[in-house]
């Protein structure tokens, strides 16, 4: 598959603060690339640089094989952007808004009308097409925001946290819509803080921190980077201090936590950990009501890589 976006040695500074530090990556045609990172990691700056909304200090950005610039209108015609902030006209109806933004790309009236209706169907706003943005709920407004960005059927779509402050039903609708866009052949760059969305949607993930790529790969490749093997959670009614300290001696156990009748055991590596745990519980006559094991999630990997300290 050919590269739709090629970013080479991108550098962008705000004064002495280097927001993007020698960033290089490619986005392949038809894939959904997840761009992850804590606040201030450089996700939005990277996106704005690719879109030529920001002047960058050094590096090269090519989209569809051509150098991207503010006046590259032939490239822009193939791009759709859904910004994090809702960008719609309060004075126009749902249909009017989608028609306006679609009209920035599609001049033919009939084609545009068809595209606008397709977008309305995709985000499930057909019933609301005559309403004004102020009459819509937060979730519907987000869906309108997405429709405005993708109505012209772009080949490359940037989605910047499109599901922030959206209820689960709307989020589900939005994620289904994004999958459909990919199925229709669009290449998508998706930034979010929700790891479960990345796991569901993205073919490949780049984790940024301090303007640098600290990890990239498929979901499984990233999970393989995790230091922990699995987490075992056991509901235990009673546990004496001696019994609790005994868990530390079990093979491959990394850490043990016991609080409010729930015991959490983290294994660093090894196989058959759960079976050995059950055997230990039985041999020490520890009564348990529920036991289950989890593989490390992307969230675990993310926190391991970027640290657990709070960011702005």
């Amino acid at each position: 598959m050919k590269n739709v976006i090629e970013v080479k040695h991108l550098v962008k500074s705000y004064g002495s603060n280097r927001a993007i530090d020698d960033l290089s990556f490619n986005v392949k045609e038809g894939e959904i690339l997840g761009l992850l990172g804590p606040n201030g990691s450089g996700k939005t700056t990277t996106m704005n640089s690719i879109l030529s909304l920001l002047k960058f200090d050094d590096g090269e950005i090519r989209i569809f094989g051509k150098e991207m610039s503010p006046s590259a209108y032939d490239i822009k015609a193939k791009i759709g952007v859904v910004f994090q902030e809702v960008a719609v006209f309060d004075e126009l109806t749902v249909y009017g808004n989608i028609d306006y933004f679609c009209g920035l790309y599609i001049q033919d009236k009939e084609t545009r009308a068809r595209y606008v209706n397709d977008a309305l169907n995709l985000v499930g706003l057909k019933e609301n097409k005559s309403q004004y943005p102020k009459q819509l709920s937060g979730g519907l407004l987000r869906r309108l925001n997405i429709a405005c960005g993708i109505a012209h059927k772009p080949k490359l779509i940037f989605l910047d946290e499109p599901t922030v402050a959206v209820d689960p039903q709307s989020r589900n609708n939005i994620l289904e819509g994004i999958k459909k866009l990919r199925d229709d052949g669009a290449t998508i760059i998706y930034t979010t803080h929700y790891m479960e969305e990345v796991e569901i949607l993205c073919d490949r993930v780049i984790i940024l921190d301090h303007g640098k790529i600290i990890a990239s790969g498929t979901n499984d490749e990233l999970k393989a980077l995790a230091k922990i093997e699995e987490k075992v959670t056991i509901e235990v009614a009673e546990l004496s201090p001696n019994q609790l300290s005994g868990f530390d001696d079990i093979k491959n156990v990394s850490s043990v936590e016991y609080e409010d009748g729930v015991l959490k055991v983290v294994y660093n590596k090894g196989k058959n950990n759960l079976a050995e745990m059950v055997e230990y519980l039985q041999s020490h006559k520890i009564k348990y009501s529920k036991i289950f094991a989890e593989r490390p999630t992307l969230n675990d990997v993310f926190l391991e890589l970027t640290g657990k300290e709070l960011r702005d």
């Binding site: 503010p70 032939d74 822009k76 809702v86 009017g96 306006y100 920035l104 960005g149």
Partner: protein, 382 residues
């Protein structure tokens, strides 16, 4: 096409604002015209009470007749307490006591004492002037040893003299005072309608989120700005046509269907263009839609008060008018006043008008340059 369509949809969403300011122009503009000053004058007649202790003959008779012609004589006050109250409340502004033998003594040049009580204020001063005027005229003839009747006739003849005033102006400037007041008042409505609507539209298009979306769109930014500017000018032109047509209805066809009317229309067209450039400058500075109404009120109301749209400029202090010179509204209203005063259509009459119009065009250029500089800086987010 898409941008134009969105522009006019937003205009339609603000149609209530446009109608409101147009109604304000019709209602208050008409009221302003009805308080028109004319060249016809009517003397004020003060209310006077006369107590005559003399016989009604000779000078006494003439004096009472003179006062009756030039003042309103009240005769319902017999009680002195009621008269004092009437003086206090200015129902009566002067009380004249004519002493016994007043006519005879005046004819004999004996200088009889006339008792005069008055309230304060303008009407009382008029009453005093009437009494003084009669007495001084009578006293100047008293030394001629005329009979009482002859003296009375002489005074009456002298006081009935009037001065002929000939207005040499070829044009009756009062004819155009209604049009001047209408178009001067339109200063407020033009500024309010043009600034509010264009600023609201530009604020919508300039919102950071919308602007980012437009910037990543496939329409060149310069082209989009050009479309917005053309539509803004078209909107202002439409408002101008509405106000000129209303001018024909409110002011009258006779006044408007003339070269004077044409000059008023041209002046207001230039001012509409200026209002458009002001709106562009404001929208390049102001970020939020919420601030637009506040700023519009400061500019429209402020300049209307300072430049004489609501109160004629001749009633405004010099310091205010000096300050007003920095505002385009001053030149717009001043031009309206100059158009009213035109006597002929020669270069000497028209030149000051065209200079004022050129000043307004100068303001337009300054506002466009300032707006472009600010917009250019904002063109890219970093």
């Amino acid at each position: 096409m898409t941008v134009s369509k969105a522009f006019w949809k937003i205009v339609l969403k603000n149609i209530g604002t446009i109608i409101t300011y147009t109604i304000i122009l019709i209602v208050f503009g008409s009221l302003n015209m009805s308080s028109d000053s004319t060249t016809q004058f009517e003397a004020d007649k003060p209310s006077i009470v006369i107590f005559n202790h003399d016989e009604e003959r000779g000078i006494t008779k003439g004096f009472i007749k003179y006062l009756s012609e030039n003042a309103e004589i009240k005769d319902e006050y017999e009680d002195d307490d009621k008269l004092k109250d009437a003086l206090f409340y200015e129902n009566v502004v002067a009380v004249v006591d004519i002493p016994k033998d007043f006519s005879q003594e005046l004819a004999l040049n004996k200088n009889p004492e006339l008792k005069l009580r008055s309230s304060s204020g303008y009407a009382a001063e008029v009453a005093k002037v009437l009494v003084r005027q009669y007495m001084s005229t009578a006293k100047s003839y008293a030394s001629l040893n005329l009979s009482e009747d002859d003296l009375a006739k002489k005074v009456e003849s002298t006081l009935s003299d009037s001065t002929e005033i000939e207005i040499k102006s070829k044009v009756d400037t009062s004819k155009y005072s209604r049009a001047t007041r209408y178009f001067s008042f339109a200063n407020y409505s033009i500024l309010a309608c043009v600034i509010t609507v264009i600023c609201l539209i530009m604020s919508s298009f300039n919102r950071v989120e919308i602007r980012k979306r437009n910037l990543v769109g496939s329409i060149e930014l310069k082209r989009m700005n050009g479309i917005l500017l053309r539509n803004s000018c078209l909107y202002s032109a439409m408002m101008w046509i509405v106000y000129v047509v209303l001018g024909f209805i409110v002011v009258g066809l006779n006044e408007m269907w003339s070269i004077h009317g044409l000059l008023y229309a041209v002046n207001s067209l230039i001012f509409c263009v200026c209002a458009t450039t002001i709106a562009y400058l404001i929208s390049s500075i102001v970020k939020g839609i919420g601030a637009v109404n506040g700023i519009m009120n400061v500019i429209a109301l402020g300049s209307s008060f300072l430049c004489g749209a609501f109160v004629p400029a001749e009633y405004l202090p010099d310091s205010v008018l000096t300050f007003a010179h920095i505002l385009p509204s001053f030149y717009f209203i001043d031009t309206n006043n100059k158009i009213m005063a035109i006597e002929d259509y020669g270069s000497s009459s028209l030149l000051p008008i065209f200079i004022n119009m050129a000043v307004i065009v100068g303001f337009c250029i300054v506002f466009i340059i300032a707006s472009n500089i600010i917009t250019h800086k904002k063109e890219r987010l970093a």
